[in-house]
Symmetry: D2
Subunit: 365 residues, 4 copies
C-alpha cells in the first residue's frame, strides 16, 4: 500500500536511498528452477551505471550486486531473492545547499509535503538510484522471459527533437550499445550527442523519448478489464522518474487517425491468424495480439541544471534562487533505456504467470 | 488478480457483459457517513448514456441504476455498495455475423486467444458498456472528493485533428455539456461536429484527445515509488477501452523541452509555496504539488466502421471480409469524458484514503 | 482493503445486508470453460437456508440465486460472475427494540464503534445472511475443484459437549444430511438434537465444533511463508461469524504431545511417498502433503437468546436489559457446515490456481 | 502472491534461508516521523536468539541487525526500511544426512513437492530462522503501537501439559523473562523446565501453548467481513512454523458453553460502555471491543528429535530411518513468544492504519 511493491505474481519490493547504506530489491514469485548468477544481474546494472560517458554523470559507482537469498547451487528455489548494491560514493555534504531550497522539477518539495521529513542527500528515495533495484529485479524477469522466447529491446527514439529513423528489432539490438545516447540510428545518434554536449555547456538539459519493443509475446496475455497489459505497461513506465507520457502502438497519433487507417486488418499467414499492421502496438482490448509490443515513454529534461533557477526557502518561507552544482546527466533517456526494459520485463513476467503461460510452481520437470 | 478489481482502499469491482442480464459494480471502501442517493449516480450515468445525439449510438438504454446495499436511511454505512443497471435493449441476433469474424481493432480475437470462449454479443465483456459500472463507482468517488473540495472537469480537447483553444476550469465546466462533442470551445466544437458528421456518412470514424483537470487536490498525495499518483492515473485512463496514450502536464512536449523551460519555478504567493508554471501537471516525483492535475488520454477512432474491412474466419481459418452493421458512435471521446472523469475520481479517492487525507473510519463526527 | 474481498486468484467480493434489498457476490478469477448452472449454486444455498428444522430459524427465505454475468451458453467465460439473492422476508420493525441496545455477543456495539452508523435491522452486514454470498461463490469453487478430483465433506463433530464417533469420509458424506444437526454419527446426532431442543425451551443456546475434511488435494499446495495453506484456512474459517477457534490435524492436542508421537512417519506405499499418520492434518510447513486436509472450527453458542441479558442504552448511556425476541437457531454449527465447506473450497481453489495446479487461462482444450 | 509478503498498509516482506548469506525484512508502510534505532530492534531479536539456555539450541548467533534504509537522522522517513542479519554460523555439512531423507514433521518433503528443489541446509527457507525478519519488522510495529498506548505481552501458558495459573498483564510482563521457559507463573515454570529437561535426555520433544495479551486497543479496529481482526490474527499466528491451532477469548471452550454463559454483558462503567467479561477475547463481529485482546496458539512438539524415526529416501524411493543429530530445542513455545508478539503487533499496526487510528501520512506535526 505504501507503494514500494510492484507486480502481482512476479513481485518486487525496492528499498534504499541515494545516500543511505545501500539500495536493493526483493523479488517474490520467481518460479523455482531458473539457473542464474550475479553476472547476469550485473550486466544489466552496468548498463544503468552512471559515469560511462559525457552524457551521464561521473559518479564512480562500482555497483556490484550481491545476491543474498533464494538461490541454491546456482538455481532459483522459489523463495524470495534478495539483492543489494552498497552505496560507496556518498558525498552528502555537497547536498547541504539543497536541504531547504527545493529544486524545481524535483520531488524535494512534494516529499516534504507528503512525509514532513526527507533524506535530502542526493534526492534520497526519489533519486534515480532507486532504479538499480528495479534493474536487478528486471534482469531476473528478462531471464525468465527469455526461456519462453520473449526478447526485449529498448532504445532512444528521440532526443532533443532529433528523431531516429525506423530500424528493425535486430538492428536496434545490434547498434544500441554502440553509442552513449543509446540511439540505434547511428547518424541520428551523432546529432543527438552534439546537441546534448552543447546543452551541457550551457548548463541546461533536454528531454527525449524511449521506445521499448518486445518480440515473442504470445497472443492472450493480459487481464481485462483493469489490469490490461497496456494499462500495466503504462503504470510501469510512468512510475520511472521523469516520465511524463506513455503511448502504445500508434499512440497519440491514433487521436488523429480514421478507423479505416487505424484498424489493423486480420489475415491468415502460414495458417496462423495475424495482423497486417501493428497500429495496436501488440495489444487489443488489453490482451496481447501476438505481434510485437511497441510502447514509448516521454521523458522530461533532467531537472538538475546549473542555470540559475527560482525557488523558495522552506524554513524562512521566502523566495530564493538555486544553481545546482555537481555533474548531472544533461539528458535522461540514454540511461533510462535499461530501466524501461526492466519495467516492461517485470510486467510481462507478471502477466505470463498470471495468464498461465508460465507455471508458478516450478520450471523443473 | 483476474483484473476486474481497481483501487486499493477505495476499490471497485465491475462485472457484466454488453448483452448479459445486467452490468454493475461493487464499491468497497467508501467510508461510513456519506449521504447519497440514486439520483447522484444516475446523473453521471446519464452523461455516459448513448443515443444522446448524432455523435453517439441510438441504442435506447434506460440505464436506471439500482443501489442494492451499503446505504441506510440515505447514508453510507461503510459496507460495500452494490449497484446495477439491467440490460434491456439486447438484440443479440444482430451480432451473429461477427461471431466467427473478429472485428479489426476490437478485442474479439484477443478474447478468444485468452479465454478460448467469449460472449460475442455486442463485444460481451469488452464492450464499452462495462464502463457503466465504473461511472457508477466513480460517481461515489466524486461525491466523496467534493466533500474535501476536489472538483473534476473533463472535456474533449481535440477531435479529428481540430484542437480546442485553452479555456479556464470554470469555462470548461460551464460549456462542456452544451455541445454533443463535449468540447468547451464552442467554435471548435462546431467544426468537430461537422467533421464527425462527414465521417459518419463515409462509414468511417475518427479519434481524439480527452483532457481531465482536477482542482483542489492537496499537496502530498501519492505513494512513491511505484504507486505514484501519475502512474496510477496512467493505468486508470489506459484501462478505458480505445485509449492508446496518456500524458500529464507537458506530457510528450516535455520530450522536446529544455530543463530551463520545463522546470516549474517555486515561489511564495500569499505566504504559501506554489509554482509559477504547471508543466508538471500537478505531480512531481509521483506526489501531488497542490496545483491542478492536468492529464490527457489519446483515444483511437471507433473500430466499428461500416466500411469493408479485411478479417479472418475463426472456424475455417480463411481470409474474410467484414462490414460492421448497426449504428455506432463515429467517435469515442465525447462519451468517454464521464468515464475518464470517473477513473480519475477513483484514483484520487483511493489516494486521499491511502495518504490519510480522508479517514477510512467514518465521516461522521 | 475494506475487507469484503477474499482470495487472490480466485477472488470473491460479497455485499449486502440482512434487511437490505439483496445479498450477493462477485466471483473474479474462475477460469473460462467451466460448465455450470443456477441449480448447482442453488443446491448449496438450500443447505444453508434457515427454516429447515427445529434447530434452525423459521424465516421463510426462498433464496433463489440469480446469475447475472460471466456465463455464456452455460459455460464460464473467464469474466466476473455476479450472483445475487433478493431479500424477501424482511420484517424490519421487529428489530426496533435492538436499535439502541447492543445485543451481548453480537457485533452491534463494535459496528457502531467502527462506523458510527449501522443498519441495525437483523444485524445488517454482520448478519449470517451475508454468508449466502460466500456459499454461492464457494459452490463455484467446489465445482472447479471437483474437476480436479478434490472433494470436501463438512460435518458437526461436536455439539453441546456431545462428540461424534470417528467416521470415514464416505460415511460422513452419506449420513450428514440425514439429520438436522448435520452430525454423521446418527446416534450422537440424536443426543445432540435432544440437548438443543431442551436448551431452546430454556431460551438458551449452545456451541459446537464443525470439522471439514478434504480428499484429493495434491501434495505441493501452499505459499510459504505467510500464505501457508493452513494459515489461509485459519483466516477463512475464523472469518465466519461465531467462530472462536481453528485447528488443523492434531490441533490443540499437539500442544500436549511428544515429537515421537506427533511426527507422521513417511513410508513408501505402492511406490508413492505417503505418511502413516495424519497428525499434520495434511499440511507441513504450510504446504499440502497429499493426505486429507482435516481442520476444525470452534463455534460459540448463538448469541441471540431470549433469556434476559444485561446491556446498555447507546443513547442514554445507561444500563439496560434485553430479551431477544423472534425465532433464532439455538445452535449455529449445523447451518455453518455448508458455509465452512464454501470457505475451505475458496481457499483451495485459490491455491490450486496460485500454485499452478489449475491453469488460470482456460479449462478448454 | 508467492506468499512472502504480510499485511496491507503495514507490510513486511521477509527473505532468506537458514544457511544462506543472510536473513532480512523490508518494512513498507511505517509512517514518517517515528524515532528508532538498531538497539530497539536488537532487543527483540535477542529474545528470539537461540542458545540462551538448556531449552533452546546452542547455535551461536550474534544476530546483529543492520538497518540499511528508511531512516534519516534517527527518524523514519516513510520510505521502506530494509533490515538484515548476516548468517555467520552455518555448518552446512551437518545437514548432508537429511538431504534425501525428509525429516518427519518437517517441511522437507512438501518443499520438494512444491518447488522440485530446495536448500536443505538447516531447513532452508522453512527454518525458524526466517522468523528473525518477522521479529525485526514486528519490533517496529510494536514501537509504533506503543506511541498509541498499545502494549503486548506474550507468555507460555502451557507446556507439556503443565498449565500456568492465571496472572495479570502486569505480572506476566514482570515475570516472563525470568525463566527460560517464558512462563510467568514461576512455580509452573519450574515444573515445565523439569519436564523439558527430561524429554531432552530421552531424545524427545514436547508441545505447548503460547498466549498473547494486548492492552490498549481502541474499540473499532477490524475490517468485516473477511479481514476481521480475529481472522487476521489467526492467519498471523498460524503462519508461524509449528503452530497447529488458534483461538481467541473462550476459544474452543466456547464450543461447550451456553449463550447465557458465553455472552459478555455490556455495562456502563465510569460513563463508558464496557463488558463485564471477556469471553470474546476483545473482538466481536471481527471488530475490537476495546477490552484486552487475548489469543492463543497451539504449538506442536519440535519435530527434530534424536529418536530413531521412519522416513523414506527421495532418490531411491525406499523406506529409510533417520535420527536427527545436532542440538535442537526440545520445545518451541519459549522461543516462539517474541515471534508471536511480533506477528500480533504486525496485525494491529496494519489495522490501526487501515481503520484510520494511525495516519499513514506522517507522525510529525
Amino acid at each position: 500500500m505504501a507503494g514500494n511493491i510492484f507486480g502481482q505474481m512476479f513481485r518486487i519490493t525496492t528499498w534504499g536511498e541515494s545516500h543511505g547504506r545501500a539500495v536493493g530489491v526483493v523479488v517474490d514469485g520467481l518460479p523455482a528452477g531458473l539457473p542464474f548468477s550475479e553476472s547476469e544481474i550485473q550486466k544489466e546494472l552496468d548498463r544503468r551505471r552512471p559515469g560511462q560517458s559525457d552524457v551521464s554523470t561521473a559518479r564512480n559507482e562500482a555497483d556490484r550486486v550481491e545476491i543474498l537469498s533464494g538461490i541454491f547451487e546456482g538455481i532459483s528455489t522459489g523463495t524470495p531473492i534478495s539483492m543489494l548494491v552498497w552505496n560507496s560514493d556518498a558525498q552528502s555534504s555537497s547536498y547541504d545547499a539543497i536541504k531547504n531550497t527545493p529544486r524545481p522539477g524535483h520531488a524535494d518539495f512534494t516529499y516534504m509535503a507528503r512525509y514532513g521529513i526527507r533524506d535530502h542527500r542526493g534526492g534520497g528515495r526519489s533519486s534515480a538510484r532507486e532504479t538499480a533495484g528495479r534493474v536487478a529485479g528486471g534482469a531476473l524477469a528478462k531471464l525468465l522471459l527469455s526461456r519462453f522466447g520473449i526478447r526485449i529491446a529498448g532504445h532512444v527514439l528521440e532526443l532533443g527533437g532529433i528523431r531516429a529513423n525506423p530500424l528493425s528489432f535486430e538492428e536496434i539490438l545490434e547498434n544500441v550499445e554502440k553509442t552513449p545516447v543509446r540511439c540505434a540510428d547511428l547518424a541520428a545518434a551523432e546529432k543527438m550527442l552534439e546537441k546534448v554536449t552543447a546543452l551541457r555547456q550551457e548548463g541546461d538539459s533536454i528531454g527525449g523519448i524511449v521506445e521499448i519493443i518486445v518480440k515473442g509475446v504470445p497472443a492472450g496475455l493480459g487481464e481485462p478489464v483493469f489490469d490490461r497489459l497496456d494499462a500495466d505497461l503504462a503504470k510501469a513506465l510512468m512510475s520511472i522518474p521523469a516520465v511524463k507520457g506513455f503511448e502504445i502502438g500508434a499512440g497519440f497519433e491514433a487521436a488523429r487517425m480514421r478507423g479505416s487507417e487505424m484498424n489493423d486488418p486480420f489475415r491468415i499467414e502460414d495458417g496462423e491468424i495475424t495482423c497486417t499492421g501493428n497500429n495496436a502496438g501488440g495489444v487489443l482490448g488489453g490482451i496481447s495480439t501476438g505481434l510485437d509490443i511497441v510502447c514509448r515513454a516521454a521523458v522530461k529534461p533532467t531537472p538538475s541544471i546549473s542555470k540559475l533557477q527560482q525557488t523558495v526557502d522552506l524554513t524562512t518561507r521566502e523566495n530564493a534562487e538555486i544553481s545546482i552544482k555537481g555533474r548531472h546527466d544533461p539528458t535522461i533517456p540514454p540511461r533510462m533505456v535499461p530501466v524501461a526494459e526492466a519495467m516492461v520485463a517485470l510486467v510481462l513476467a507478471d502477466h505470463m504467470l498470471r495468464s498461465g503461460f508460465i507455471n508458478p510452481g516450478t520450471l523443473l520437470e
